[in-house]
């Protein structure tokens, strides 16, 4: 079957028959992927919408239609709003630090020092470690009685008494953000480093000859080249940070109290510990709506700064 080049990118526009054949082929090629995504994204959403209007407690008596009661309950619970705030705080803190640190490290690594290759290779490691594993390791290391962190901080005289990292909200926040930063800054660094390696040197040299200082060089020459890469790193990290579950679950389980409880942990508790599926579905849908707004913004950032969304 010879396809008219007109229906392909870079061809000349032509007849409708060719276009419809392209459509048929297009949808055909897309169908396996769309099927999988239907099963995993659309069907669950339909189910969630259906269930959010019912009181469906799997352990108790059967389900009944309750209208918007679940939504009212979920939206009027001040704990949920506190956790929503915690979630946003977590994302903003973690992503900002990761981008900042990642950029700094990428700039340093870009200097082509003798050990750059080795360092780059080693920096990639946290990326491959399962978040659950790193959370467990952090938990053990932060133990006030046995963990090495407090031990060495004390031996080096930095602190006098061991810090109960996971027992105080402030330090528990440090711990979950610290874990996320440890796990994902290398990810940002690698992306930005790849971007930096593509920055042409002539404009920089020319500007340097003209007397521009390192800061202006960076701002006016390097940064524009880096924008697509920062956009990718920002978009990917932001959406992933909103989805974080395993690492916080294992490290603090939302504690102490509920100070590090993000919405994902709430959802888990309501759905899979209380089995109040209706309430969980309502909360889940509200969260999804919020995330789709975020996603829209992120897609816009990607579209404005990169060409990966273009046709």
């Amino acid at each position: 079957m010879i396809e008219s080049p007109a229906t392909r990118e870079g061809g000349r526009p032509q007849g409708r028959l060719a276009l419809s054949r392209a459509a048929a082929m297009g949808w055909g090629l897309l169908s396996p992927a769309l099927l999988i995504l239907f099963v995993m994204a659309i069907a669950p959403t339909i189910y969630l919408v259906y269930v959010s209007f019912r009181h469906e407690n799997l352990l108790g008596p059967g389900s009944t239609f309750v209208g918007v009661q679940n939504f009212i309950r979920v939206l009027s619970d001040s704990d949920n709003w506190a956790d929503a705030l915690s979630t946003v705080e977590f994302v903003v803190l973690s992503v900002t630090i990761e981008i900042g640190l990642g950029l700094g490290l990428a700039l340093l690594l870009n200097r082509r020092l003798p050990e750059t290759n080795l360092l780059t290779a080693l920096f990639i490691l946290p990326l491959g470690i399962a978040p659950v594993v790193s959370a467990l390791v952090f938990r053990v290391l932060l133990d006030p009685a046995y963990g090495w962190v407090d031990y060495y901080l004390q031996t080096w005289g930095i602190i006098a008494d061991p810090i109960d990292w996971l027992g105080n909200p402030g330090t528990a926040w440090l711990a979950i953000v610290g874990l996320d930063v440890w796990q994902w800054t290398p990810f940002v660094t690698l992306i930005l480093l790849a971007g930096l390696s593509g920055v042409p040197s002539e404009p920089k040299e020319a500007a340097a000859l003209d007397g521009a200082g390192p800061l202006r060089l960076f701002w006016h020459i390097t940064l524009p080249f880096l924008r697509p890469f920062i956009a990718i790193a920002l978009a990917l990290r932001t959406i992933e940070a909103f989805k974080t579950f395993g690492s916080i679950f294992v490290l603090t389980t939302g504690g102490p109290g509920t100070s590090t409880e993000v919405i994902n942990l709430d959802l888990y508790r309501i759905a899979l510990q209380n089995f109040d599926i209706g309430a969980a579905a309502a909360l889940g849908i509200v969260f999804l709506l919020f995330l789709s707004v975020i996603m829209q913004q992120l897609l816009k950032v990607l579209g404005d700064n990169t060409d990966i969304l273009e046709d």
Partner: protein
């Protein structure tokens, strides 16, 4: 002739020869009939054919899975089929157990159930009362051997109003249970109650005894009341030498609630936390006193190791066994690390106005969706039998049968290995205080442990923390449909 043959032994004193012949024929006939019936009924049971294996969901060290694993070969020999054992630590286990039951899965035939879960699960766990009353199935059960307090707290519920307690008698009588409208939902397997463990060597050290006498004028001994407890803990604390008086589990988790309710009972409050009128009973003068005492131990007197406000069962067990503390309160026997030279002995927790160590028991139950309920029931009978439990003592099982405690007392090998643990365990079970029976106990539990943890960290005063918690609990009870009576 056939009909009369059943009336065996009712014959007149003088039997004519003919009558004798008749009655012996009758006897034979009757015996034959009974044996046919017996064969028929066991064939009926065998008609639910013996499975090649059953699936069992179990905890790990919380319910002494080592004992179960060790018993599996004996099980195979005795019962003729295998048990496929899945073990999980507490949180994962609870989530898995509830998930299985919520989704109506028939995968696990036998499931372990912890006491606080049961009120929510009465419609998903198979009541075994009828099987218990069936003498063919339960001939060897010896149900009266189960410690009554433990049995009633753990296994007896009313299906639809799961918050009610059955404690109308001191004897486990299945017929009476059934008559009262209650059901039996499993057989208790591992009984846990809070006990005090202490370093016998430190307490018997003459230097320590002398110093303590000089300091307080009293003899150094395992504390009998909470004031002594604080005094002894202070005496043993020397942070520079990495030694503290005791552990406490003030981390955010169920263990903190259990610590608190023990103290609450000790200070004269209601250790059940929620009373029969569905009121939060911990926001009381006794509760405030108990929590203040607890918090002072941690923050004022500083008799606990660092990390107490995020400690749970495993941290405190490690702390004690590594020799960091002189005392600890926990739910199982403890051993010291190889590099710590000492001996461990046990005592009941200190008494205040009253005594009420927290207790909760694991039981083995039959999944109501199982396809092998009868065989599952036989299996749990075997596992909770006196013989199996006695043998499991060597693996530190906490028995639920009175006779097994007697066996433990009589066995010198047990005392050698575990000291006076089983003696204290038995005594503590007799005064233990369980949890309130609520379908949403998990959420109530959470409110309380958050209060305890907040107070322990100094984030709230004991009064404020308890007040906040009782407000939450009131709302939770209302949400779950429990109306204040």
């Amino acid at each position: 002739m056939g009909k009369k043959s059943n009336e065996i032994g009712r014959g007149a004193p003088e039997l004519s020869r003919r009558a004798l012949l008749k009655s012996s024929a009758g006897l034979a006939g009757g015996a034959f009939a009974v044996s046919i019936m017996g064969a028929a009924s066991s064939r009926a049971l065998a008609a639910t054919t013996q499975p090649s294996s059953l699936n069992m969901l179990y905890a790990t060290s919380e319910a002494d899975s080592d004992a179960i694993k060790a018993a599996l070969p004996d099980f195979k020999t005795a019962m003729g089929f295998d048990i496929n054992l899945d073990t999980m630590p507490y949180n994962a286990l609870q989530q898995k157990a509830f998930a299985e039951l919520a989704s109506g899965s028939s995968f696990y035939d036998i499931m372990i159930v912890d006491t606080p879960w049961m009120p929510a699960l009465t419609n998903k766990i198979e009541p075994i009362t009828d099987m218990v009353l069936d003498s063919a199935l339960s001939g060897d059960l010896d149900i009266k051997d189960f410690i009554p307090k433990v049995f009633f707290d753990t296994a007896v519920y009313k299906r639809d109003t799961s918050n009610l307690h059955f404690d109308k008698s001191d004897v486990v009588d299945p017929a009476a249970i059934k008559a009262g409208g209650f059901e039996i939902f499993g057989l208790p397997m591992q009984a846990n109650v809070l006990t005090l463990a202490y370093r016998k060597d430190l307490f018997e050290d003459p230097a320590n005894q002398k110093a303590y006498k000089e300091k307080t004028g009293k003899d150094l001994a395992p504390p009998k009341d909470w004031d002594e407890f604080a005094a002894v803990a202070e005496f043993f604390t020397n942070a520079a030498q990495r030694r503290w008086g005791t552990t406490l589990m003030a981390g955010a988790g169920d263990w903190a609630t259990d610590d608190f309710k023990t103290l609450l009972a000790g200070f004269g409050g209601d250790g059940h936390l929620v009373n029969d009128k569905f009121e939060a009973a911990f926001d009381s003068p006794e509760g405030v006193r108990a929590l203040t005492y607890y918090v002072d131990l941690i923050n004022k007197k500083k008799v606990t190791p660092p990390g107490t406000t995020s400690a749970s069962w495993d941290n405190v067990a490690t702390s004690f066994s590594d020799g960091l503390t002189a005392m600890t309160m926990n739910y199982h026997d403890l051993s010291l690390s190889p590099n710590v030279k000492g001996t461990v002995a046990y005592a009941t927790v200190p008494m205040g106005k009253s005594i009420g160590p927290h207790f909760g028991t694991w039981m083995l139950s039959v999944n109501s969706f199982s396809k092998n309920k009868e065989w599952a029931y036989r299996a749990i009978q075997w596992f909770t039998s006196a013989a199996t439990q006695t043998k499991a003592l060597a693996h530190q099982l906490h028995p639920t049968r009175a006779s097994v405690y007697e066996n433990a007392a009589k066995d010198p090998a047990i005392s050698q290995k575990f000291g006076n643990f089983y003696d204290i365990l038995g005594k503590s079970l007799a005064v233990g205080v369980g949890r309130p029976r609520l379908t949403n106990y998990g959420d109530v539990d959470r409110s309380v442990w958050v209060a305890v943890n907040n107070a322990a960290r100094g984030a709230a005063t004991p009064e404020a923390a308890l007040k906040a918690a009782s407000g939450q609990v009131r709302d939770l009870l209302a949400q779950a449909g429990y109306k204040t009576l």
